[in-house]
């Protein structure tokens, strides 16, 4: 059974569908890139998978024992976060909250998990620093560590490299690839077609028509060229 299956999904706002008849499957260990123009519904799709929005039609099925709160999420930064007084440790720890239910305080295991994930993201030395004083790349690592605290199975990334310089972007991609190699399923929204094609094994192209296929097939299709031409500079 697939880890995640979307069947005949229609997405949109207030009955105005942005996306129609979307079906695809994500297997354990996949690296799926979602590409498409601005406004084609990429973020809406992600929010629906996360359960933040309900689909207009269709269903989302979780398999392989994946529970709804076992999906890690790396959202785009919000304006609130830019001047938020919070230490790195506080933010990473907050990733553990989802599993805790009503329990009010962090346990030793939570703290250990947070410490391990900070080590993994190479930000242990920043633990006591203030989030808003970090560079963009460091902030993304912090949010990634937080996402890892909430999952060992699946990560959803919403444009993880937006606003990062080329060097940090490359680091970020290899970090994500490492996680994927360790068995974490990745679903990523991206504007960067080149890198998507380099790392992903599956591509979901959404827009006026929908294409879901393996990377190799995508390269053969004409979509790759038109998308490349249209989106390349963004």
């Amino acid at each position: 059974m697939a880890l995640l299956e979307c069947k005949d999904l229609s997405l949109g706002y207030e009955n105005r569908a942005v996306l129609k008849d979307l079906s695809f499957k994500v297997e354990s260990g996949d690296y799926l890139c979602i590409i498409g123009e601005n406004g084609s519904g990429k973020t809406t799709l992600m929010k629906t998978i996360l359960g933040l929005k309900s689909p207009l039609k269709g269903e989302i099925i979780f398999g392989d024992g994946l529970k709804k709160n076992e999906i890690g999420y790396l959202p785009q930064q919000t304006p609130v976060q830019r001047d938020f007084p919070a230490s790195v440790q506080e933010i990473v720890l907050s990733g553990c909250l989802g599993k805790k239910g009503i329990a009010p305080f962090y346990s030793k295991e939570d703290k250990k998990l947070a410490a391990d994930n900070m080590e993994r993201m190479n930000i242990t030395s920043l633990a006591r620093r203030c989030y808003r004083e970090l560079s963009g790349g460091q902030q993304q690592r912090v949010l990634l560590a937080r996402a890892l605290c909430s999952t060992e199975k699946m990560l959803l990334l919403d444009e993880p490299v937006a606003g990062l310089d080329p060097k940090v972007t490359a680091e970020m991609y290899s970090l994500i690839k490492e996680l994927n190699d360790k068995g974490i399923t990745i679903i990523m929204i991206s504007h960067d077609i080149d890198s998507s094609l380099k790392y992903a094994n599956r591509i979901l192209h959404i827009g006026s028509d929908i294409l879901f296929c393996k990377k190799e097939d995508y390269l053969k299709s004409s979509k790759a060229f038109s998308a490349h031409g249209g989106d390349y500079n963004e």
């Binding site: 929010k47 996360l50 359960g51 709160n69 999420y73 976060q81 938020f84 506080e90």
Partner: protein, 283 residues
């Protein structure tokens, strides 16, 4: 100097001064706790809006001649708080506009009712004391004191118990919700707590000045401290100390309690800004 202390020790023998100090410090403590969350969620004005609602509700309660108007004011304010804080992105009228609309609406209705139906001889005096809380803190009954102390304790306990969740919901609501934190439930909780604080704080500083109790401690602490926990703890201390000094000062010099506390808050804010600037340069 010794004159002041003599005067002070004399005043301390009066129960109403002790009540005012106790209640003032409790209210200052709980209003500062959620201040950080409200400032960060861009809801600084919610206190102002809700306090006007409370003012309107108080006028209605007075007209209907409730024996204890708390019973009426509290639920109305809680309902409005839920309305304002919950709707989120999906509403037709967005955050600040909704707050402004409800607050001026309630203010206008409240004043009209008080003006038309009040049985008191001194309407403008009544209105003034509700808006600026001029003396009500000094005329608290034992019941009021207990009510304030108990409600404040409940607020503080709730805050401590849900501290980590409140942090998560403030920092990143969609992440919290996506990973299984019931963000809406906590937003609801925040709304209810805020409303309770507002109604309590009306006694202390009056409707118009409540926002000061909510935002000054948080903003001051944010100048100096850099983690959520230290900001929260600092703003709690800041608020309690300012309230204490403000009440003492106003008792000794006969200035209005509410505005004196706010002036002390402003001075504290300036001090913290300077400390923040000096500390910032060192880095």
């Amino acid at each position: 100097m010794s004159e002041i202390f003599d005067k002070l020790s004399l005043y301390m023998t009066y129960p109403f001064v002790r009540y005012a100090l106790i209640v003032g410090m409790f209210i200052a403590l709980c209003s500062s706790l959620l201040g950080v969350t409200l400032v960060l969620k861009r809801f600084s004005f919610i206190g102002d809006g809700l306090s006007h609602v409370a003012f309107g509700a108080m006028a209605v309660a007075a007209v209907l001649k409730f024996t204890n108007n708390m019973v009426f004011i509290l639920p109305v304010t809680v309902a409005c708080a839920i309305l304002l804080l919950m709707g989120g992105q999906s509403r037709k009228i967005k955050g600040d506009a909704a707050v402004a609309m409800i607050s001026v609406g309630a203010l206008a209705i409240g004043y009209m009712l008080m003006n038309r139906f009040s049985t008191s001889a001194n309407v403008s005096g009544d209105v003034c004391s509700t808006l600026f809380g001029s003396t009500s803190i000094l005329t608290l009954s034992k019941f009021d004191v207990w009510l304030s102390v108990i409600l404040s304790t409940v607020v503080v306990l709730l805050f401590v118990f849900f501290y980590n969740k409140i942090f998560a919901v403030t920092f990143d609501e969609s992440f919290a919700q996506a990973t299984g934190v019931r963000a809406n439930a906590y937003n609801f909780l925040i709304a209810v707590i805020i409303a309770v604080i507002i109604v309590l704080a009306m006694n202390l500083v009056g409707s118009l000045l409540i926002s000061a109790l909510v935002i000054f401690p948080a903003l001051s602490a944010m100048r100096v401290f850099r983690s959520f926990k230290s900001v929260t703890v600092c703003s709690a201390f800041f608020s309690v100390i300012c309230a204490f000094l403000g009440i003492l000062f106003s008792v000794i010099y006969g200035t209005p309690v509410g505005s004196t506390i706010v002036v002390v808050d402003i001075l504290g804010f300036l001090v913290f800004t300077v400390i923040g600037l000096i500390g910032g340069k060192k880095r």
